[in-house]
Every structure is written in C-alpha cells, then in structure tokens.
Symmetry: C2
Subunit: 186 residues, 2 copies
C-alpha cells in the first residue's frame, strides 16, 4: 500500500466516556468503528490543551534553554520554555506569557514556525512552535513550588552536545528545535 492521507481510513467514533478527570489529566474512552467495520473498544484518548514552545535567540544567536525536574522520568531535563494554551488565549499570547512566567523574559519579535503533534495516537492536542528574537529581562520568574526552573542562553553547538549527552532529552522539544532551525535556514 502506497502512502496516502485519504479520509477513507478514518474511524467513526460512536461513543465516548470520560473515565478519569482531574486538574492535570482527562482520559476519554471511545468506542470506534474502522472502515473495515471492526469495533475498537475502548480506545483511550488523553485530552490536553494545546501546547506552545519558544525558541528564543539573543543577538549573538544563542538560544534560551531551561532546566527543571520532571517527575515522570524522575530526572532533571534541559528543554525549551513553553507550556499550555489557556482557554480563550491564542498561541502567541500563550508563549509570551509562559516565557515571562518561567524566566522573566519578554521578547520583541515572535512568530510561528510550525506545528506538530505530541502523540496523535494518544493525545488530542498540538504543539505550536515559535521563533522569538530581541529578548529582554522584564522581571522575576513566577514562584511555583512545582516548577523550579533554571535558564541560560547557549550556543547551538552546546545544545547539540547536550542532545548527544542525553541531557536535552525531551523528544517534543528536540522536534521544536529542528522546526525552528529549518525555518531559520529558509
């Protein structure tokens, strides 16, 4: 079978039930029917708000990297700044707000360079990726006991070394960095 993106492969969703819902998680169980008339039940979907990532470069071309403890992997990870899009908020407003909250940095210029899916098999949300330039320190980062975030501007070579060492290790952030680097080359 050759590659295609035809809609004739779509499943029909005939029933949905939220089986777990709390502040940070929503799990939906769907009953689906495939084009071959096979019933798939339950198919679990994790419902999340859309996410945003920022690739902020300073005038030397260094890129802003944050680090924080990530409990599911039980380790500290080096990442891009980013977070949730709040209800009623557009993605650019969200990325500017998250950047300010996490690092105290604001940016003069900010534009979208692509979108990807965290996991289209299990998650219903998207990640919007922004390139941002002309950063300045606008104040202190937000105090949040569940988010102790460090930050620093690093050269691309330093970040690539952190990727090789497995320290800049969150897959979605590696994807966003790649989209931003491709957009910067274009």
């Amino acid at each position: 079978m050759k590659l295609d993106s035809q809609s004739n492969r779509f499943w029909k969703r005939i029933r949905s039930k939220v089986v777990l819902s709390d502040r940070w998680i929503t799990v939906r169980a769907d009953t689906c029917v495939t084009p071959e008339n096979v019933t798939i039940e339950p198919y679990y979907v994790l419902e999340y708000p859309d996410w945003v990532h920022a690739v902020v470069t300073d005038k030397q071309g260094k890129i802003l990297v944050v680090s924080q403890y990530r409990h599911a992997a039980e380790r500290v990870c080096f990442e891009l700044p980013g977070g949730n899009v709040e209800p009623g908020e557009d993605a650019e407003a969200a990325v500017r707000r998250e950047l300010l909250e996490e690092t105290g940095i604001k940016v003069a210029d900010c534009w979208n360079v692509g979108v990807h899916y965290p996991n289209p098999a299990t998650h219903n949300n998207k990640v919007s990726v922004f390139l941002a330039e002309r950063p300045s320190l606008a104040g202190a980062a937000r105090e949040d006991p569940s988010e102790q975030i460090a930050w620093q501007f690093l050269t691309l070579g330093e970040i690539q070394e952190l990727i090789t060492q497995g320290e800049f290790c969150q897959g979605l952030h590696i994807a966003s960095l790649y989209l931003a680097l491709r957009a910067r080359q274009a």
Copy 2:
C-alpha cells in the same frame, strides 16, 4: 538560577496508587514532596513500555516513511516505523520486529543513535532511535484491523516538505529523524 542537572531538585515519592489500568493505558497517582518540603498530590504518571523508532535508508539514501490513521488526533499521519518494546525484549530486537510487522521489511544493519523521552513530565518511558541500512522485503506486513499501515521510501527533501506541510507531524518522530540525521553527519 543557572542551568544544572543536580539531584538536589529531585522530588521524593512517598505514595503511589494505580488509578486506571487497562490493556493500553496505566495511570499512576503519586504523592510527592519537593526539596522545599511542598507536597504535590496527586501527580499523575502515565506508565508505558519503552518505544523504538527506525530510520531505515535504502541504497539511494531514501528513508522509509509509514502512514496510518491516528485516532486521538483524528487524522492520518506520516511517521517513522516503530512501536513498543515487549517485556524481556531488547530495543534492537523490538525495532526489527516492529519493522517486519508493520511493513514486511527486514534490515541487515541496525544501530542505536540516541534516546529521548516522549514526555518526561507525564510519561515514565523512553524512545530508542535506530538507524538501519540494507533493507529487503521479507514478506507481508501483519494484518491488524487497528493498524492499517502504508509505507514508501522518500528522499530527505520529500520528508522535509511533508514536515513543512504538517503531514509528517508527529513530534516524537521528527525528533528521532533529527537524531538520526545528526548521527549520519557525525
């Protein structure tokens, strides 16, 4: 605060309870205490087996791309072949098995080029990325009503165009492609 990966930011996990467990999903609720002695409760962790992705190149340097319907995003996505590491299986055996099951292709050479985390905030698993060469068609792909998978070898330029168009759109697979491209350059 400057970047660091010190263990003094680790949370202590003092209690765990599985709150949802079914064939395709396990949700664990942890009670944690931060280094500042703040209790975080519940913190949800999605438990998954480790995953594997394959970047298979043929002798023209084209790369194997698969496409399939992904129900959470309700769309067809272009991706790399891959899947779960089964209990007791090593990652290379898993990637060879998944490749054969999804496409009927076996490869002569296969080596690990890196590891990343699907989401270290919410998932407890890793993705191992393999570069593979000298592919040959070994038989038919597995018949699975929940996985109707098409495949094709594409040039890197064609894949980059699919990324720009938002068709090769699964973030974790974009990250794995980037790791493989970097390894191939090294």
